[in-house]
Amino acid sequence: MVHFIDRRLNGKNKSAVNRQRFIRRYKQQIKQAVSDAISKRSVTDLHKGESVSIPARDITEPFFHQGQGGIRQRVHPGNDQFSPGDRIPRPQGGGAGSGQGDASADGEGNDDFVFAISKDEYLDLLFEDLALPDLKHNQLDKLVQYKTVRAGYRAEGVPANIDIVRSLRGSLARRIAMSADKKQQLKQAEAELAELEQAAVPDELARRALLEHIAELKQKLAAVPFIDSFDLRFRNYQKKPEPTSKAVMFCLMDVSGSMDQATKEMAKRFYILLYLFLSRSYKNVEVVYIRHHTQAKEVDEQEFFYSQETGGTIVSSALKLMQEIIAKRFDPQEWNIYAAQASDGDNWAEDSPLCAELLARQILPAVRYYAYIEISPRAHQSLWEQYQQLQASQPKLALQQIREVSDIYPVFRELFKKQAA
């Protein structure tokens, strides 16, 4: 009569499809909400999901219902003071007293529809239509990566790779092959023996011979081993070359004394955005962090974003270091190289022409894209002007200025928007 079923183990995301459809349908509104939200967020939770609000009027499902007005008669509970014929002033807003008892029937609430999207959905929306510019399939035929894949079975190998099912299948087959014949003989001999014993005058000699034969057969059968090294099968693995295209991203940042905390914060935010974008869009992107004041230093991600330094500014030191690293580790023939530099624009005046020259001669020929972000509300200084001159002849160089936090995301989109193929 009654079945108890434990459904708790069933798939969880039964509504996932419908949820995805909802998000797709309201993508435009959600996207707007996401880009509005990005400027309000702090650095560390940039990779979390986001709660998004859409004006409720945009997502209503229209239907006919009764409107306000006309004559309505409603019954309410809890009379504590009224007598028939009493007159009550009309309550405002169709509240508890009368009018629409059923508030949901109004459906005209102005509250926004707020909901949370997951981290993946958030990043999808954030980075939609963006791509690393100018990615070339460098050295595609050079087959730089190997992937280990299964490739059938083999008769020898290390014990860790034994395939139990295959081995036992082999064992079973061998045992059948080695014993079927003897089993048949045994059956036959046993039948003969039984017949012999049924006879009125048992032939003792024949009987003894048969018994001997049976014992021998049984011994042979018992000698067939359950498993033999012959049965063993090992999983075989092969290294399969996989064509890949590799990219490396250089992050250069000025951490000198002229960069105040707020400016650094904005630069960090830009790089975190960049980092999320990279680690999301491309499986194979290496990131090199270089920070500099008067000297440049290659650091890890943690140090890049979270450690403090002071001092003057010599931008060319970072460019030199970058060039050295390229020469040492990232052959432009093999790697797609991208660079993004963030600075407040301050530079030691004599250094700026040197920077421009370094860029023009050494770095720009090697890279696919070089983005320079100046984080400063002030007028441009020497570095920007040098770069700007360079930009006229170098399409790979991009300059953008960020004035305040809310500029970061639009600038980021501007720099990395997918180019028409």
């Binding site: 349908r25 006919f64 004559i71 019954v75 309410h76 509970p77 009493d86 009309r90 009368s98």
Partner: protein
Amino acid sequence: MSNSALISRACLPDGPDWTFELLASYQQEIARVAAHYQLDTYPNQIEVITAEQMLDAYSSIGMPIGYHHWSYGKKFIQSEQHYKRGYMGLAYEIVINSDPCIAYLMEENTLPMQALVMAHACYGHNSFFKNNYLFRTWTDASSIIDYLVFAKNYVSKCEEKYGIAEVENFLDSCHALMNYGVDRYKRPQKISMAEEQKRQQQREAFLQSQVNELWRTLPAKASTNPTEARFPAEPQENILYFIEKNAPLLQPWQRELVRIVRKISQYFYPQKQTQVMNEGWATFWHYTLLQHLYAEGKLSDRFMLEVLHSHTNVVLQPPYNSKYYSGINPYALGFAIFSDIRRICENPTAEDKAWFPELAGSDWLQSLHFAMQNFKDESFISQYLSPKVMRDFHLFAVTDNSKESSLEVSAIHNAEGYQQIRQLLSAQYNLSQLEPNIQVQQVNLNTDRALTLRYIPHQEIPLGGAIEQVMRHLHRLWGFEVRLEQLQSDGSVQLLARCPEPA
């Protein structure tokens, strides 16, 4: 020593944690008592689910399967938000009118809650589904799951063939008119899934091959009587049905989608009409069954206190001036009326004998079953709402005439007011007075094939809602111009909306 051993043998373990073995033993006891009270049910299928799965169930109106549509995603996100912020607790159970009757229990419930919920859903609601005349006439419990599977597969097939956006847009339009996809009088057929599929294909072929009245280009015999040309001959209340059969431009698959939406709407129609009765009946029985077990000594005091605590929360009716007031609580009203029927049968007063002469002194169980089987909310209230319940609830009626500046208390719970309150409260559950009365009035066969709907206001209440948008959806379904007109109180007709708007 021996005394305590005796008690522990008689008394079922009282939790608070539940196990499947404990659930089974409680279920067995409840089933025994339910049989004692002649509750006739479908077989039960009890499924334990998590909070997240409960949210899933919410968003698909409690159905275990449904076709994909963004609006269900929206509902899911909405209830998820409300739940996470603590605006709303989840229901302890959801029960589905199917055979076997599927009941979902929340994993978080304590053992007493699970017992309460089993009594409520698996015996209360279940017996209601099986025996109430509306459910017996309008729904077919054995085929609903099959039909939902069919619908889901059909919709995904269409999506593959014609594109998700196309199908979703079309379903949007159907959903906008979902409330007008109901036959109020005709009885739908019971058919199985295999048959449904076969028929679906035949229907497709037939509908397309049929000479459509609307496409007729050869003039029919010149009709001398102009009223004869009217199409449809009578106003049609089931707008989706009318569209499915008559919309000239729909593809076969689109007709089938209209039909699916209409069928599901029809399936839920009885639930809308029996909220008070259904919940009242289930509440009455969880209370009565567990009280019975308690009286037998099967339940511990601790267990019963938790049950009673939940029960009182369920039947709480805040007064009109409370900030928690949101209309009459169907659990409270239904429970009060059913309990009152039992009281009238067992201990009638002079007043009861005057009001319910045939009920007073009769067998309460038979009378109760009769009341459950043969009524819907509207008729149930007008038949069984007693003066005592009106007094207990302190009911009073308020008239709100938008032409006057203040409201008037038209009746209260006194001898002069009983009849009027009973009649007004009954009307409050009359769906045809709650939903705007809109019917297909006419199609211009000979000219532009425009479709005209007519709104007939009840008590001069104007039509609300996003009229323009619904009309656009209707236009998508019909394919030619659509108009909506309103019948005025003086008999004249006023045009409310048309789509497309004349240039």
